[in-house]
């Protein structure tokens, strides 16, 4: 292709994207790769051959389990997230906006405390099974979670949010007349959903599937806490690392990444077979008024009940935070409630420091994610260039690798001066954490932005440019507002994730930027379940506040482009 302004623009946009990716994703990852190819100081594939020929097959078993759990996690998350997105975006009922926001609360759950809340709720001695047992006078608890089912429940619970958010933002972009056309051709409600709406959501669903698949592959807390010894690859990596086999850990990480990337390539292929740009003539945003009241209200009731169930773990944390330490040990139900934990917490003059740190870190990292994500996504979706798949893979790697591996990569890469860190040693400084958050959450914003961008009719951009708007102006005034819901979905997710981020934080935090998740972890380590829960509540409140504010201030704008 000849050089022209458009290719130049592509290159101009691509360069910063590539720079960031190479510096902070590729370069550190290569170090892992290199590590995995070393044994006793010589280059070799022996770690890989060991992986597959190992006698006890534990690695293969773990690999298989990981894939299996991840696929099921995708399935279950989709089964919760997509219907909820529908109910809360397609039907209007009192309190809709509250429930719609509340539905993303699971992601707010601090990972360890969250999983423990689950155990308190649904474990063998959990509140719900025992309550049912006592209520109906059963001999045994009717159910309990644990093992694979436990992992899956926790995964579905925390990860459906990815589906919920991406699908929510994409639903609004669907031209309602397409669904109308399908109804008109005689398709039943289900058919319309299955044959038209659902396929049109493909970009969003692909995005969410990728995010969920990869995060389950790399998921740590849930298998660690719930499965006892159930073998998954992410745990194997952790144990290899604990056992000091860094090279084996690296090998396992590389294999995990390869599986995730294969999934990515498969999804890309699947999505690219078809076209999702809604290019009908004119703006067909006649809101369909079709509704069957019984159906509607039953859906709505389901949705509301769903959200209440989704909020139970938060309520459990609230409960835990109100129970003073040592008063709920062997008892089935707690008996004493007071603000003791909060009092202890607030007696510490530094209680707000981690909060402030978390906020600053997250804001800095998320701002970076926003800018980078939008540009990268635009380049990936709307521009042509060779090596797109490669860039796409780079974008997803931070999600495919377990967080601890990312943390280790960063340590390897930046505990010596490099050009990418402007000749500074980053490890041990304030900036390493926001950088880590930024890298971790690149895929979130890029993917969720991709999802809406894929649906955008190109002629809108063309119209703007033919009216004389420069690319950047067009981007700011036309494209960005249109894709805002998707961008915001991703940004919000990445912000929320940053606030709660633990696995890389624990490797990289310093005295000056110690975030709230570390604080919670430390309380837990000291068996202060109550104070940890109280801290968790503060974190939840903080995130809820941010959600509320962003809803108030950005929501208005985003909504407008939705109508």
């Amino acid at each position: 292709m000849m050089k022209n302004r458009d290719t130049r623009l592509t290159i101009f946009l691509l360069i910063p994207v590539l720079l960031v990716l190479v510096a902070y994703v590729l370069y550190p990852s290569l170090r892992t790769l290199i590590e995995s190819l070393h044994k006793d100081g010589v280059w070799t594939f022996s770690h890989y051959s060991d992986f597959f020929t190992q006698e006890s097959k534990t690695n293969l078993e773990a690999l298989w389990n990981s894939v299996y759990i991840s696929l099921l996690s995708v399935l279950f998350s989709a089964l919760i997230g997509i219907p909820l997105a529908f109910i809360f975006n397609r039907y209007d009922f009192p309190g809709r906006s509250f429930f719609a926001s509340a539905a993303i609360m699971p992601i707010v759950l601090p990972s360890l405390v969250g999983v423990m809340a689950f155990m308190f709720l649904y474990g063998e001695t959990g509140l719900i099974p025992n309550a049912i047992k006592d209520l109906f006078g059963l001999d045994d608890v009717p159910f309990k979670i644990g093992g694979v089912s436990g992992i899956l429940i926790v995964h579905a619970y925390t990860m459906y949010v990815y589906f919920y958010m991406t699908v929510s933002s994409a639903i609004h972009k669907i031209d309602p007349s397409l669904e109308e056309a399908a109804y008109n051709l005689g398709a039943s409600r289900f058919k319309v959903f299955w044959r038209v709406t659902f396929p049109l959501l493909t970009p969003a669903i692909v995005a969410a599937s990728l995010l969920v698949f990869m995060i389950s592959m790399a998921s740590f807390s849930a298998p660690f806490l719930l499965a006892g010894g159930y073998r998954v690859l992410s745990l194997q990596i952790y144990f290899s690392k604990i056992n000091g086999d860094m090279e084996v850990a690296a090998t396992q990480s590389v294999i995990l990444s390869i599986v995730s990337i294969s999934f990515l390539l498969f999804m890309r292929w699947y999505q690219n077979r078809k076209d999702y740009r809604m290019a009908s003539k004119g703006i067909g945003a006649h809101r369909s008024e079709v509704s069957n009241p019984i159906m509607k209200w039953s859906l709505v009731v389901t949705g509301i009940i769903g959200v209440i169930i989704l909020l139970l773990p938060h309520l459990t944390i609230l409960l835990l935070s109100l129970v003073p330490d040592g008063t709920w040990t062997w008892q089935t139900y707690p008996t004493v409630f007071n603000g003791e934990n909060y009092r202890l917490l607030f007696e510490d003059p530094n209680v707000f420091k981690p909060l402030k740190n978390s906020l600053i870190l997250s804001v800095v990292a998320t701002a970076g994610n926003f800018v980078f994500g939008v540009i990268a996504s635009y380049v990936l979706v709307k521009r042509k260039f060779v090596g797109k798949s490669f860039v796409d893979i780079l974008v997803m790697i931070p999600w495919a690798l377990p967080a601890t591996v990312i943390g280790m990569n960063l340590i390897f890469a930046f505990n010596e001066p490099t050009i990418f860190s402007f000749g500074q040693i980053l490890v041990g400084t304030f900036w390493i954490l926001p950088l880590a958050y930024f890298i971790r959450h690149i895929p979130l914003v890029v993917r969720s932005t991709n999802a809406v961008l894929e649906q955008l009719d190109d002629s809108i951009e063309e119209a703007s440019r033919s009216l004389g708007a420069k690319w950047f102006y067009t981007f700011r005034k036309v494209i960005l507002p249109l894709i805002m819901p998707g961008v915001l979905a991703g940004t919000l997710l990445s912000f929320v994730e940053s606030v709660g981020e633990f696995p890389t934080s624990v490797l990289l935090y310093t005295l000056s930027n110690r975030p709230i998740s570390i604080e919670i972890m430390n309380q837990l380590r000291m068996f202060n379940m109550g104070q940890a829960a109280a801290y968790g509540m503060i974190q939840i409140a903080l995130i809820a506040l941010v959600l509320f504010i962003s809803h108030k201030f950005f929501g208005v704008k985003a909504e407008k482009s939705l109508s």
Partner: protein, 337 residues
């Protein structure tokens, strides 16, 4: 930390020899650390900054900060961790003023670390479920089939305590036979009785407390602490045949930014007064043999320490644990639907 401004003002005149602050990495938790921070700052007028995190994490972190160390003192970790760090050249040797009061096993021969407290591993049981008489008295009694599905064990790979216990079980035979087979066999039987491997201590406590299981094995100070401070229905039994006793220690980080202050802190946390506080308030059994007036639960408990060559532990425990993980841990237990 926050007091920095206040502290730095006065620090200059009083103790000009110390640096302006000392950075401590420790798993001891906020309660202990705040207490000692406050006392140290009062005495030396310099700032104490601490990061509390798991001992494994400290090791990782000191390793990753090798090129520009941030920490001065590493306070609290089983001696094996220190040995490992020592081998990697992460620690600076320092013989404290009280070195004479430390027994042979309580410090590194080259003084790269020294012990501050000892942690015997014990059998823990739920007092609501079992009486003292019913409870097993020794390791081998755990294998009795009546405890089937009554034992809840912290998943051992990620836990120093559990690794120590499991390794010790193997070591009992290994030290003579040089073959872990008998130990593996023992662990297989334990596995058969084990109801569940809890992923973290909190879950384990919770499950034992609520009676999902009645027994566990764990570190004694923690059990005491849970019982005394948190009202858990726990009691412990020191196995008659002897139990591994971990030494927790303190060390100074190589190339630490504040070496003088580090030494001061090193000394400070193992003064007799400090050791007494630790014992009384935080259930830590001191290593120093020159401390009087210790609480009854220490003086009255007879601890029969297993004779352990920690070097052997350090060399083999990874292999043993790996073997356990891959070959012993029962497959059914992991998938509890």
């Amino acid at each position: 930390n926050s007091e920095k401004e206040v502290v730095t003002e006065t620090a200059k005149e009083e103790k000009p020899t110390l640096e302006e602050k000392v950075v401590v990495y420790s798993p001891h938790g906020k309660d202990i650390l705040s207490k000692f921070e406050q006392q140290f700052e009062e005495k030396y007028q310099i700032d104490v900054e601490w990061l509390d995190m798991g001992s494994q994490e400290i090791l990782d972190r000191i390793r990753s900060e090798k090129n520009n160390p941030q920490a001065d003192v590493w306070w609290g970790a089983p001696s094996v961790n220190f040995d490992q760090a020592k081998d990697e050249g992460l620690l600076k040797p320092y013989a404290p003023s009280y070195s004479s009061s430390l027994a042979e096993g309580f410090h590194d021969p080259e003084w790269h670390w020294s012990g501050t407290s000892q942690t015997p591993e014990v059998i823990m049981y739920n007092t609501k479920e079992l009486s003292k008489e019913e409870a097993p008295k020794d390791w081998d009694e755990l294998l009795d089939s009546k405890w089937k599905d009554e034992i809840i064990i912290r998943y051992p790979l990620a836990s120093g305590t559990m690794r120590t216990i499991f390794s010790a079980m193997i070591y009992r035979d290994f030290k003579d036979s040089n073959d872990p087979a008998a130990g593996y066999d023992w662990l297989t039987k334990l596995d058969a009785n084990t109801k569940e491997y809890a992923a973290n201590p909190e879950m384990m406590y919770n499950k034992v407390a609520k009676g999902e299981g009645a027994l566990s094995v764990w570190a004694m100070p923690d059990v005491v602490m849970l019982k005394e401070n948190k009202n858990y229905p726990f009691e412990f039994i020191i196995p008659e045949s002897g139990t591994p006793v971990l030494t927790e220690g303190i060390a100074i980080v190589n190339d630490s930014p504040h070496p003088k202050a580090a030494e001061a802190f090193y000394e400070f946390v193992n003064t007799p007064e400090a050791a007494k506080i630790l014992a009384e308030e935080f259930y830590r059994i001191p290593t120093r043999d020159d401390i009087d007036g210790l609480p009854a639960w220490i003086t009255e408990t007879e601890i029969k320490a297993m004779d352990i060559d920690w070097k052997v532990f350090q060399e083999n425990s990874d292999t043993w644990m790996k073997h356990w993980d891959e070959n012993i841990k029962s497959g059914e237990k992991e998938i509890k639907e």
